[in-house]
Symmetry: C2
């Protein structure tokens, strides 16, 4: 397995950018229909109208593919949140709002959630770059909810946001593994946030 996936900048031609988008679209579609197991590399290649070898040239493994798709979703989420005013008077309230909002999005598409979560959790060191990107996005989403007005945040806030992110991920895993229902997950997250964010 090669070390690096092709990043957006590497792709000169627009045909390549389009191929890349088609691949990620196909990934999301399949994931959303049948979850992690349904994202089969041959199926992704077929649906994206791309040869298997090409798929592997763009994304060196199924995990890279899914984690990159997750990063793209997060980027869209962040973009959507950047524009909108977040409900809530205190940082904790706003973080809860964002988590609720995100979680309900996931609830609407449990297969997709399962696929992306499991990929993220199963990743190993070779996916470090993509993982870091996702972690950074998640932290930014949380810190932005805490302080929508600020552009800069201090270390303390980042640490808090990371803990919130940890709880969020662990909660997702709990949901995906059937350890807890969505309602329980939301309640747990809310309780955790009120413990952590003050």
């Amino acid at each position: 397995m090669s070390i690096h996936a092709l990043t957006t900048e590497d792709l000169g031609s627009s045909a390549q950018r389009e191929r890349r988008e088609r691949i990620l679209d196909a990934t999301i579609t399949l994931a959303s229909q049948g979850g992690f197991d349904a994202v089969q590399m041959r199926a992704v290649a077929d649906r994206a109208d791309v040869a298997l070898g090409t798929l592997y040239r763009y994304f060196p493994s199924k995990i890279h593919l899914l984690v990159t798709a997750l990063a793209r979703e997060f980027e869209r989420t962040e973009a959507a949140l950047a524009d909108s005013r977040i409900e809530g008077d205190t940082p904790a309230d706003r973080v809860v709002t964002v988590l609720r909002w995100t979680t309900s999005g996931l609830e609407d598409d449990p297969h997709l959630t399962e696929a992306l979560t499991r990929a993220f959790m199963f990743a190993d060191r070779s996916v470090a770059t993509e993982i870091r990107l996702v972690a950074r996005l998640l932290t930014r989403i949380v810190t932005h909810a805490m302080h929508p007005d600020r552009d800069e945040v201090d270390d303390e806030d980042v640490a808090i946001a990371r803990v919130v992110g940890d709880v969020w991920l662990a909660s997702l895993v709990g949901c995906v593994t059937g350890r807890s229902t969505t309602a329980e997950t939301v309640a747990h997250m809310e309780r955790a946030v009120r413990l952590i964010v003050r």
Copy 2:
């Protein structure tokens, strides 16, 4: 894949109990030598002197196998902790002590840590029983550190312990995916515990 793994109670004969233990021992040995990828079902079967079909009769998947092995490790950890006096004057101090202790154990055997963590994180609903067992053990270990004297704990404590467990798991994932070093992980966990446990 069948739904249930054979639990200890199901195994009448001592030959069966021994086989089961041999399988789990082989799993730990292989995991500790080469991590998740080295735990290959044929290799486990060979080393445990058991046929592949028998292995699958005892543990319906590689994930069941690894998560069960993790549960056994946790049971031993809990037993070891139950006897010993835990250093620290406050609940937070004691929780930090326990996490440090456990984490250093994992640091000594990074391959094993990687194998067990990734299995736990990759598990799906079919492993719910084993996952729940592990989660219960983890919660008990933390609540016991918080209140070594009490036998009963209230809901609040359980909620707190679950958040701590969440952070611990997310930190492990961070370690395994190469997002953070062991030192960073320990620091992050410690900071989180002091935020959460009061």
